[in-house]
Every structure is written in structure tokens, then in C-alpha cells.
């Protein structure tokens, strides 16, 4: 085979008039895309190694760099796209599964972008969030079916355990190991500052982050890494991870090369050994087994923590959710197919699962049809990009959303989708100390808090426009939504009317 059978996707363009040969880009690029040619006394680039993470572009002191998508192309063919051809060549070369990271990038419909919001005109007033109270506080958890009174006739305050959030957004599971310590610390501190929750993911919890316990959801996944009783009791809630939107039906794999130092300690596995999370929980082969795990965790923590069960949005998600709602779980988290990941087989990421908008709408409806919607809260995740997505998800029926990718972007991620290489130039999806150092948690957490505050303001603005001053009045309020360019069936599943109706 020829030496350069596959042409690189991106080209590094250097303005040689500006370049001062300072070699910053060379130092900054963990992929080795920049090389200094000593004999010629100038910089050169290896486009093959570039992942388009923009680290060099951002660090070059004289703006000498830009990355462009190559215009080199295969003979145009709408069916046999360049991507398909390249992937086949790559697999013919390696004989392996294609790996990828972050969420599904393909051109499936984005329902959030085909839904529009309402605003008040004439018949009822909009409310100005700058002048009037606008409540975004959310409580997640199960609600009793019936008010009970004591012998004196006073209401018994027997509210099951709840998570209290200042706004309907939480930071979704990202494990210490898949992301760096500095990234984890940024998430934890941002959650604490913003009055919301972050999620440990399946990698356990670093000792130093125990102090953010009030804002921590501790996850129990199929590998059970880092799970012990102090870990469970330290969180505000416990999440059982049954599935993940980016890779429904398969487990996880953190290569031994990343199991070093504190990560090995936190995960409670020997240094250098691969951390393999099996596809299923081997103690959960059915719904009644799930219920046992829910109650074991409740027992283990003396019934002081609400239990979240997280599932990937798959075809019969409504029936599964209804089973979970009866299993003793307090909260169901549904993760749509756009959900991010540190590493997933590309075919799974791109072809398995369904959009969160449809999954959420049908779960909310099913639970209501069965009269059990009050028994669980619903958290929707997988591709939430903005406050408008949040508002739409809540109007479709979610109590709250999970954000992952958006949070990482606030911390500096440039969506190069190369997390699986472990060489994140922004210090997020890497364990290389020199790279991790690039993310300063003091700075990172503030950026994330800024993002959350900005979204909160926007959410309040949109609520006010609809004449709503408490977030619970938006929940499941589908009359506030209209579809554009959707067919009858899609509208029916979303439970919304078409614009103009």
C-alpha cells in the first residue's frame, strides 16, 4: 500500500511571515503534529497527527496558525462518502474496531431544533425576571401518593429523600480516569458553587473531593470500581448506571496505561491493569434484580440517599422506565444517543439508541398513563447544548437535565473528539501530568459556574416570557411547545402540536 493512502482530514496552515520559530506549538501538541526542522531552521507540520483540537492555534503568540478542513476529496459520491471509504481502508489496515469519542455526530434529526417555545401576548402578561421572583429551584425524588396526618390532624412530613438543586441542570457522570483530576475538581467545585450536583462516574471518588459530598452523586456501575461504604455515604445520591447513551448495551474499558497512581487507588485496582466494566451488571439480569440492588444500596446507606437509575435511550425505553419506577428507584436518568463518551466503538455510538427528545416524551407519557409519574423524577441527558434545550426538555416532561459535553466545553474542550487517545491537549481527557496541568481548576470551575449562571438567566427569561414564574409549572407543559417540519407521528410521540395549530 502507498505510504500516504489516506489523506489527513485537516491541514495545519502556518503563516510563515508571522511565525517566529518560538516552538510553542511543538511543545503544546501532545500529538506531535508540529516539528522543528533544525537543518532548515523553520517549523513544519505533520497533518496526519493533527486532531484539530486548536491548542496550537490558541497558544501561538503571533496568530500564525489555523487549521482548515482539507479540500482534498474523493470523487464525489453521495453514497460512498469519503468517510465510508476511509473507514474501510483503516479497518483493512488494522483489523480492529473503530474507536471514537464524544457524542454521535451523524445527521439524524435533532428534534430540539424542530421545537419552538411560546410567549405570552395580550391575554396574560409575561413576567420580568429582573423585577419579579423567578423560581428555578428543583427537588428530585419520589413523591408520596397520599398525604398522611398524625393524631392531632397535622400533616406528617414524610417526604422521601430528595436532591435539592438551584436550577434544573446537573453535571453528568464523567469518571476520574476518563477525565483528569483537575477536570474532576473543576466539576465538583462548580457544582458546589452553583448549588447543583456533579456525578463521579464509575471511577470512584478521590479522597480530596470528599468535601464536596453534598453536591456529589456517586455512581455504581457494572465494574463496581471504587465502590465502598464510605464512598456511598459521602454522596447526596447514588446512581446505578445501567447504560449510557453513547454506547448502549456495551461496557467500558479504561486501558491499563491510564490506571496509574491515584486512579488505581481510587478505583481500587492494581496499577497497569485494564479497568473493564462489563456490558451488563452481572448481578442484574432482570428488573427484579435491579430492585434488589436499589434496596441493597438503600440498606447500605440507611435509607438516607435517593437512588438514581440511569439507562440509555433505547427502543422500548418507556416500558423499561416504567419497570424502574416500580423498582424502588427515586429518579430515572435517561441518556439519549447524542450523549458523550470518553471512548466508544464508532459503530455503536453512531447507530445504537434513539434521540432523547422522543425517549423523554414517551417515558413521561407512559409514567402518567400508568399513574406513577409522581413516584420518580426524570433526568434527561445526552446532547443538551443550551438553555433552550433545557427549557424544551422540561416542557416535554423532564424534571432536570444532565449536561456533560457542554460542561467540558466550558472547561476548555474544543470537541476534537479524540478523548480515546488519552492525549487531550486541554488537560481534560488525559492523565499525562504535563497535560493535566494545563487545566487550572481555579479557572475551570469559574468558567463552568459562569456558563451555569448564564443558562439560568436565559431559562428565567424564557419562563418569564411564557408567564411562568416557577419551573415546576413548565414541567410537562407541552402546550408551550410547537413543532416545525415534523410529521404526524413525530408530533404524536412528542405530544405537541404543529406550529400554527
Amino acid at each position: 500500500m502507498a505510504a500516504f493512502d489516506i489523506y489527513p482530514e485537516y491541514e495545519i496552515v502556518r503563516n510563515n511571515e508571522r511565525c517566529t520559530n518560538c516552538r510553542v506549538c511543538e511543545k503544546q501538541c501532545a500529538n506531535g503534529a508540529h516539528i522543528f526542522l533544525t537543518d532548515k531552521n523553520r517549523m513544519a507540520a505533520d497533518d496526519d497527527k493533527c486532531v484539530n483540537c486548536h491548542r496550537c492555534v490558541a497558544m501561538c503568540p503571533v496568530r500564525a496558525l489555523k487549521i482548515v478542513k482539507t479540500n482534498h476529496t474523493f470523487r464525489e459520491n453521495l453514497y460512498w462518502t469519503g468517510k465510508s471509504i476511509k473507514e474501510i481502508k483503516r479497518q483493512a489496515e488494522s483489523g480492529g474496531v473503530l474507536l471514537s469519542s464524544m457524542g454521535n455526530p451523524e445527521t439524524y434529526p435533532v428534534y430540539f431544533d424542530k421545537i419552538l417555545l411560546n410567549a405570552s401576548q395580550v391575554t396574560n402578561p409575561s413576567i420580568d425576571p429582573l423585577r419579579e421572583p423567578m423560581e428555578t429551584r428543583v427537588y428530585l425524588g419520589s413523591k408520596p401518593d397520599k398525604v398522611v396526618r398524625d393524631e392531632k390532624g397535622r400533616i406528617k412530613i414524610d417526604l422521601p429523600l430528595h436532591i435539592k438543586l438551584s436550577m434544573p441542570v446537573m453535571l453528568s457522570a464523567m469518571s476520574y480516569g476518563s477525565i483528569s483530576y483537575n477536570a474532576h475538581e473543576s466539576l465538583a467545585r462548580a457544582a458546589a458553587e452553583a448549588g447543583i450536583m456533579y456525578n463521579t462516574g464509575e471511577g470512584g471518588l478521590h479522597e480530596d473531593l470528599y468535601r464536596y459530598g453534598k453536591n456529589t452523586i456517586v455512581q455504581v456501575a457494572s465494574g463496581r470500581f471504587g465502590v465502598h461504604s464510605r464512598y456511598l455515604s459521602n454522596g447526596a445520591a447514588i446512581e446505578i448506571k445501567m447504560g449510557q447513551g453513547a454506547k448502549p448495551g456495551i461496557g467500558g474499558h479504561l486501558p491499563g496505561s491510564k490506571i496509574v497512581g491515584d486512579i488505581s487507588k481510587t478505583r481500587m485496582i492494581p496499577e497497569g491493569s485494564d479497568a473493564i466494566s462489563p456490558a451488563p451488571h452481572h448481578d442484574i439480569y432482570s428488573i427484579e434484580d435491579l430492585s434488589q440492588l436499589v434496596y441493597s444500596l438503600k440498606e447500605a446507606t440507611g435509607y438516607t440517599k435517593p437512588i438514581i437509575v440511569k439507562i440509555a435511550a433505547v427502543h422500548n425505553v418507556a416500558a423499561i422506565a416504567s419497570g424502574i419506577a416500580r423498582s424502588g428507584a427515586d429518579i430515572i436518568a435517561i441518556d439519549g444517543f447524542r450523549g458523550g463518551t470518553g471512548a466508544a466503538p464508532a459503530r455503536i455510538r453512531d447507530h445504537v439508541g434513539i434521540p432523547i427528545e422522543l425517549a423523554l416524551a414517551s417515558v413521561d407519557k407512559r409514567l402518567r398513563d400508568e399513574g406513577i409519574r409522581n413516584r420518580v423524577s426524570i433526568v434527561a441527558g445526552g446532547g443538551i447544548r443550551s438553555s433552550a434545550d433545557v427549557v424544551k426538555a422540561i416542557a416535554l416532561g423532564a424534571d432536570c437535565v444532565y449536561i456533560g459535553t457542554a460542561a467540558l466545553i466550558a472547561l476548555g474542550c474544543h470537541m476534537c473528539r479524540s478523548c480515546h487517545t488519552g492525549k487531550c491537549n486541554w488537560g481534560i481527557a488525559t492523565q499525562r501530568e504535563d497535560l493535566v496541568k494545563r487545566l487550572n481548576p481555579d479557572w475551570g470551575y469559574k468558567r463552568l459556574v459562569n456558563l451555569l449562571n448564564a443558562w439560568k438567566h436565559e431559562i428565567m427569561e424564557m419562563m418569564g416570557g411564557m408567564g411562568i414564574n416557577a419551573i415546576e409549572s413548565l414541567r410537562g407543559n407541552r402546550l408551550m411547545l410547537r413543532g416545525v417540519g415534523l410529521n404526524e407521528k413525530e408530533l404524536e410521540i412528542l405530544g405537541i402540536k404543529h406550529a400554527g395549530e
Binding site: S120, V122, T123, N124, P125, I127, D128, R131, E132, P133, E135, R137, Y139, K143, P144, K146, V147, R149, R154, I155, I157, L159, H162, R368, G371, R373, N374, M466, G467, I468, N469, A470, E472, S473, L474, R475, G476, N477, R478, L479, M480
Partner: protein, 362 residues
Amino acid sequence: MREGMFRNPSGCAISGIFSKSGKRFSGRQIIESIAVMHERSNGLGGGFAAYGIYPEFKDHYAFHIFYDDIYAKRECEEFLEDHFDIVSFSQIPTRKLPEIKDTPLIWRYFLAPLPAKLADSQQDEGEYVIRCVFRINTGIKGAYVFSSGKNMGVFKAVGFPEDVGRFYRLEEYEGYCFTAHGRYPTNTPGWWGGAHPFALLDFSVVHNGEISSYDANRRTIEMYGYKCTLQTDTEVITYIIDYLHRKQGLDLKEICSVIAAPFWSVIATRPQKEREELEYLRCVFDTLLINGPFSIIVGFEGGMMALNDRLKLRSMVVGEKDDMVYVASEEAAIRVIQKDLDRVWSPKGGEGVIVTLEKGSA
């Protein structure tokens, strides 16, 4: 934000009169009161609820029913006979008026559930009656039960409220409480059944406003077996009150803390016991919070309640004179029937004004 700070061209009118001593008075006053607010209605619906008007049948459910034709009537009466002992029935007396057109057949029945049927149903009496009402309203085409309480009745039609009052000869009834509504529909087309008050058993609601939480409220209450067929705010508010009162056993003050829940910032300032209770109610019934502008008057056996949304986005005034309590969208509607008031005030948003019959009164 208070009424008047923003442009608000939608307007319904509501009015209520209550005698705490239980003294019965004629329906003439309520017609005069609601007539003052003529321009707040647009002739597409008006109605009244009257309490204490059927003392001779006070232990029987009084059904008021609209029929489109005699076939609907026949089918409905068969259903009634199957489920109730019909103690008395008659056409509701009306007066022919040029202003009131397209009159349906309007009949009244005094009913007692058949004991065997009731026992079979394994429901309490209230639930049994409500299920029957739902079955008629959704199952029998052209029949619509618009009043189903004891010793009370709803009278409503398409038209201006003062004409509706004259049409039903309301001045010939005597009761201890009357409420009234003049409608300016923006949501649903004017239809006799869609006029207000909306009532379920002895609870009746008149409402002014357009709530922004409608679909959240509707989808919640439908989960508990109610069917919102009219798609009006009043219907969903009535169901919420019925659910909280009859199924959850909340008293009216607690109901106010759910449907017009105080802001979290206000709850935080309350003494511990009260705070816990308010937090609990707000958490458990969060999607029954009614958001957006409303003022409502709720009539029920032995009492009346007036309530504004928590921002008070709709006007509502309360007046008192001796044992009489008056509530109306505008003070003028009170002054026209009682110039000399002991006290008149504008209740705060979310603050329910609840009046009940004094002990020992009728």
C-alpha cells in the same frame, strides 16, 4: 407587579356574595353586581352558582343537565334511573328573552345513589356521583351535566351574565351564597357547557384569568383520573381543588398553599413547623401550582373562598358589612349593592379569603 402596571385587555368578571349567618337572600343582588362589570364580558358566556337554594331536597344531589335533543334526554334519563333513585325532576324554569338564543333543553333532577349500585362500585358516594357525571358528559352525546351538588345549583348560558340571570329567573331563588361570572373567552368558543361557573359536586369555581401552567396542571390531574374535556382553566382548577380536598384531605388554607404556593424565599422566613409544612406541600404537589394570572371564587357547602395568584396579576376586592361578605373583580360591583361597607380591602396575592357559615346557622 400589580394590576394596572401592564396592558391587560382580557377581562372576565367575577362576583360573590355570602351571608355568614346563613340568612337567605334573593338572587337579584348578584345580578345587579355582575351587571356593573358588563364591559368585562363579551356576551359569550355568563353564569351563577347559588347555595342553600334547595332546602326541601338538601340531602339529594341536584343535577342540572343540558340536552341537545330529546334523544339525548331519553338516553341520559335511562342512565340516571339505572344509577340513582330519582326523587324529583322537572324542567328548569326559564324566561324567554331575545338576548338568549339557541337554548338547549334544561332539566333538573334530585337524586340519591342506588344503595346496591353504590355498594357494588366500592366507591364512596362522592366518587360514585362524579364517575356518573363523567360518564354522562363523555359518553352520552348531547347530554351535559353542569351542576351536581347538594342544596346548590349552577345556572349558566351563552349571553351576558345579567341576561343569563333574568333568563333563569334567578331572583326567584333564595340562598345564603351566590357567585357569578361574566365571560370574555379567549381560549374556547362560547358554548353553554363552557360557560362558568364550573362545578363538581358542591364545589363551584368562577375564575378570571388565563393560566400559563395549564398543560402542566392538566396532565397532572388527568393522571388521577380526571378528564379535562372542556379545555378551560376553570375546569382544571375545579378538578385540582376537588382532588386536593376530597382525595388528599387538604383543608382550604392548605389548598391555597398548593395552588398559589408562597415563593421559596417567603417560605424560608416562616417558623419551622409552618415552613416544613409549606415545603412539603409545595414539593409533593409541585405541578398543581397554578401559575399565571387568576382570581377565583370557590363556592362550597357552607362557605366561600376567594383567591388570587401569587403575584396578584388580576384585580379582586373584598368588602364586609355586618354578616355579609362581598367579593368582586371591581369595587364598583360591590358598592352597587352595598354602599355602606364596614371594611373593604384588596387581598394579597396567594392569600385566600375563606368565609364559612357561623356555627348554629342554617
